[in-house]
Symmetry: C2
C-alpha cells in the first residue's frame, strides 16, 4: 500500500472510533426518550456528558490536525477523501474554539433540559422550562460569537444545519413565501373553504395503528430488520449505526392521520439514512447532506406521496379493513379530509400550506433570541401574537404554544428553517423526477413505491454528505435552489380547493 | 483538603468515568437483548468492542497503578477506600495480564455469540452455536492460565464470580447436597407424589401478566421509577446506573407461574442493586458482594417469599381478580401447584428441590470444559446423560438441552455455581432473619414486604461490595457459609409433601 493509502486507512480507523461514540450518544438519547426510568435522568446526563467529552477530544485531537495538514495540500484527492477532510476540518475549526468544559456543561444541560421540557409541557408550566431555555439561548449566543460570522450572529448557528445558509438568504426566500401563504389562506377563508377533517374522527386503537405503520414501512421500503418504530413525546428518527435507523411516533386514538403522516415523515428520514452507501463508513459522510435536504426527503414522503390522491387509492383496501368505520367514506372523501387546509396551533399536525408559516414564526423568534436581547419572559406572548397575526389562531396555553416543540430543549437553535427548506428542495426534486418518471403518480397508485425509493436513493441518498446541499440540488435538478416550484405547488393546491 | 483526601477525590473521579463506560456497556447489552433490529448486530459488536477496549485501558492505566501504590501502604484507611483499592488492584492484576487485542476480540466474539445462540436455540441447531462455544471455552481456558491458579484451572474462573471460591470447596458443598437431593426425589417418586401444577394451566394474556408484575413490583418494593420490566429470550437484571436497574422476563400465555416467579427472581436482584448506598458511587463497590450473594437475594424473593403459602394468601384477591379462572381454585390448591416437585428439563422453571441438581449438572460440565479437553461435539450427549442419571428425564432436542441457557454464549463459565450458592446463602440468611423477625411469615401474609426489604437492605444491600462474600455472611449470620440450613429446608419441604 502506498503512503497515501496507508494514511487514508489510518484516518478511516480513527473516524470509525468517532462513529462508535456517535452511535453511543445516539443510543443514550434514544433510550432517554423512549425507555429510561424517570429517576435515571441525572446520572444519564453525566454519561452523555462523558461521551460528549470523548467526542470533543477526538474531534480536536492532534491526530485530526495531522490528517488535515497531510491531506489538505494534496490536489488530486478522490471526492470522498476530499469531502471527509472538508468535514473534519470544519468540525475541528469550530470545536477547537469551544473550551471542553463549556461543551460538556452544555451537553449535560440539554440532556436534563429535554426531560424538564417534557414535564413542563405535560404540566403546562413554562416557568419550569424557562431557566433552561434561557441558558440554552445564552450558550448558543456564546457559541455563535466563538464560531464567528460576517453579518448576523444567527448565521453562525444556521451554518451548523445548512452549510453556507444565512439570515439574508432565508429572508429573501421566506419573506415572499410568507406573503403568498398568508394571501392563499385569506383567499380560502374568503371563499369559505370548509375543512373536512372532522369526518375522520373516530376510534383507532393504538395497536392497529402500529400494525398499519408496519404495513406502510414495508410498502415504502423502510426496512424494519434495520430499524424499529417506538413511541415518544416528540417523533424523531435516529441513526445508531449503518443498519440501525429507528423512528418514533405518537398515536392519537381519535385520529389516525396524525400518527400515520408522522410515521411516513420519519420513514422518509429513515429511508434516507438506510440507503446511504455503506462504503462511506469511516468517512464522516454517512449522514444526510444537510438538515434541509433531510427534511426534503421526510416531507417528500409525508406530503408529496402521503397526501396524494393516488396514495389513498392504493391504501384504501388495507386501511378500511383495519379500521372498518372508514368503509362508509369514499377514497375521495378521505383524500379531501387528509388535505384539509386549516390554520391550527400544532406544527406537526399542520397541512402543507400553513406548515411553512409555523416555521417562519419559529425562524423569526430564533432571530430575536440570538440577534437581539429578548427576555425569555416575553417569548410566550410573542409566540401567541405571531400565531394570531399570521395564522389567525391563538394558543390557549403554553403547552400548545411556546412549549410545543422539543428542538430548543435539545439545544438546537437554527434547525427550524430546515423544515421549510425541505419543502422547497422537495418541490424542486419532484419537478425533476416527474420529467424522468412521468408515471410517478400511477406508480403510487399501483403501490410501486420501491422504484420511487430507488430513484431517490440513486440521486440523493447514496451520496451521504459527499456533496454540499447546494452542490447536491444542482446535481439533481440542474439548477440552484429555487423556491418557485414550491410556491407554484401551494398555489395549485389552493386553486384545486377553490374549484 | 489534606493530600490523602485530594487523592481519594481524584480516584473517585477516575472511577466515576469507569462507571460511565460500564453503564454504556450495560445499555448496549440491554438494547441488544430487548430492542435492537437484527441486522444491527455486527456494528453493535464493534461498538461493544470499542467500549470494552476503553474499559480495558482505564482498568490497566498508569493512573490506576499510581492509586494502588499510593493507598496500599497506608495502614489506617477507611473501610470503603480499603475495599476500593482491593477491588481495583484485583482488576488491575488480572486485566493487565490479558493483551488488549485478546480482550476486545473476546468481547466482539461474545456480543455476536449471544445472538447466534438465540438463533440456534430458536432453530434447535446446536451446529450453529458450536464453533462459538468452542471459541468461548478456549478463551476461558487461556484466561484461566493467564490469571493463574493453585489447584484446578477452573478455580481461576470461579474467583471472578465468588472471590476465593474453589472447585475443592464446591465439591465439598455440592457432593453431599447432590446425594441428599437425589434421595429426596427418589423418596417422592416411591411414595408417588403427584405434581399438581397442571391445575394452573389456562389462558393468561401477556398484558395482564405484565400488569400483575407491576403490582408485585410495588408490593415488594422494586421501584419502577428507577427501573423497568421488558421481555427478552432469557430473563436478566441489569444496572445501567444508580437509579436505572432494569429487569426482563418472558411470559408463557398458558402458565403465569413461570413468568411471575421469574419476575420475582429478577426483582430480588434489582431490589439489591436499588438499595446499595448511593455513597458508594465512584468507589467500584456499588455492586453486589458476589454473584452467590446476588443469587441469594433473587432466590430469597423467588422461593422463600414467592413460593410461601402466606404469599399466595396475600396475593390471592388480586390475582384471582385479574385471572378470574383462578377463582375456582383455593389458595391451598394454588400453593400446592406452585410448589409441585417434578424433575424437569428447564432450569428456570425448576422447583426448589430439583433446581440445585440443574446447577450441579452445569457445574460438572464446566469442570470438564475447563479442566479437561472435552470435545464440543460430545457436550449435548453428556448433558442428556446427566439429566437422565440425576433427574430421570432426558431432553428430546438441544433447545431444551445444551442450548437452554444464555450464560455460556455470554462468555460466562463459572457463573452457574452462584445459583446453588445463592440457595445456601439464602437459607442461612433466613435462619438469622427468623430470629430477629419471628413474625416473618405473618408479615408476608399481611403484605408487609417493605419491612423485609428494609431488613435485607440494612444487613446486605446497602453495603454493596465493601465486604467479601465470606465476610458478609459472617457479619449477617455470625457464622461461615453452612449448607446445613438449605439441606434442612429441602428435607422439610419434602417431608411436608409426604405427609
Amino acid at each position: 500500500m502506498s503512503e497515501i493509502e496507508l494514511k487514508k486507512q489510518e484516518m478511516k480507523e480513527y473516524i470509525s472510533r468517532m462513529e462508535y461514540v456517535q452511535s453511543l450518544l445516539g443510543l443514550v438519547h434514544w433510550d432517554m426518550r423512549v425507555n429510561m426510568p424517570p429517576k435515571a435522568v441525572n446520572f444519564r446526563g453525566e454519561v452523555s456528558g462523558y461521551l460528549a467529552g470523548e467526542l470533543y477530544k477526538m474531534t480536536t485531537s492532534e491526530k485530526v490536525k495531522e490528517f488535515i495538514d497531510y491531506f489538505l495540500p494534496i490536489d488530486d484527492l478522490d471526492d470522498i477523501t476530499k469531502a471527509t477532510v472538508r468535514k473534519i476540518k470544519k468540525e475541528y475549526d469550530k470545536t477547537v474554539k469551544i473550551p471542553e468544559k463549556m461543551y460538556t456543561d452544555f451537553v449535560n444541560l440539554i440532556s436534563v433540559a429535554e426531560s424538564v421540557w417534557e414535564e413542563a409541557k405535560a404540566k403546562n408550566d413554562y416557568g419550569l422550562f424557562k431557566p433552561y431555555l434561557k441558558q440554552i439561548i445564552d450558550y448558543n449566543k456564546q457559541f455563535a460569537d466563538i464560531y464567528g460570522y460576517k453579518n448576523k450572529r444567527y448565521d453562525a448557528l444556521l451554518d451548523d444545519y445548512e452549510m453556507g445558509m444565512t439570515e439574508e438568504e432565508l429572508d429573501r426566500i421566506f419573506n415572499p413565501l410568507k406573503e403568498v401563504l398568508i394571501n392563499l389562506i385569506k383567499k380560502l377563508n374568503e371563499r369559505g373553504d370548509k375543512p373536512k377533517d372532522h369526518i375522520l374522527k373516530g376510534k383507532y386503537p393504538v395497536e392497529a395503528q402500529n400494525q398499519f405503520a408496519k404495513i406502510i414501512a414495508k410498502k415504502l421500503g423502510y426496512d424494519l430488520e434495520s430499524g424499529r418504530i417506538d413511541t415518544s413525546a416528540h417523533p424523531f428518527t435516529i441513526e445508531l449505526g449503518p443498519s440501525d435507523i429507528r423512528i418514533t411516533t405518537r398515536y392519537d386514538e381519535e385520529n389516525f392521520i396524525s400518527g400515520l403522516l408522522s410515521n411516513i415523515h420519519e420513514m422518509g428520514h429513515a429511508i434516507y439514512e438506510q440507503n446511504i452507501s455503506r462504503d462511506l463508513r469511516g468517512t464522516m459522510l454517512m449522514t444526510g447532506a444537510s438538515m434541509g435536504i433531510h427534511e426534503s426527503q421526510s416531507r417528500f414522503y409525508e406530503n408529496i406521496i402521503g397526501r396524494s390522491r393516488e396514495f389513498w387509492k392504493h391504501v384504501y383496501p388495507d386501511i378500511s379493513t383495519l379500521f372498518p368505520s372508514l368503509k362508509k367514506l369514499s377514497v375521495d372523501e378521505i383524500y379531501q379530509a387528509v388535505n384539509s387546509i386549516k390554520p391550527s396551533l400544532i406544527r406537526v399536525d399542520a397541512d402543507e400550506i400553513t406548515y411553512s408559516l409555523h416555521i417562519i414564526i419559529r425562524y423569526e423568534m430564533e432571530k430575536m433570541m440570538i440577534d437581539e436581547d429578548v427576555d425569555v419572559d416575553e417569548l410566550p406572548s410573542i409566540w401567541n401574537k405571531k400565531y394570531k397575526d399570521y395564522l389567525g389562531v391563538e394558543p390557549s396555553n403554553n403547552s400548545e404554544g411556546i412549549l410545543q416543540d422539543v428542538h430548543w430543549s435539545g439545544g438546537s437553535i437554527g434547525y427550524f428553517p430546515s423544515y421549510a427548506l425541505g419543502n422547497i428542495y422537495g418541490a424542486q426534486i419532484l419537478n425533476t423526477m416527474l420529467k424522468q418518471m412521468p408515471d410517478f403518480y400511477e406508480r403510487i397508485e399501483n403501490g410501486d413505491f420501491l422504484s420511487i425509493k430507488n430513484w431517490l436513493s440513486d440521486n440523493i441518498h447514496k451520496h451521504g454528505s459527499i456533496y454540499t446541499p447546494s452542490e447536491l440540488i444542482e446535481k439533481v435538478s440542474g439548477e440552484k435552489l429555487n423556491p418557485e416550484y414550491f410556491i407554484k405547488r401551494c398555489e395549485k393546491i389552493v386553486e384545486e380547493k377553490l374549484k
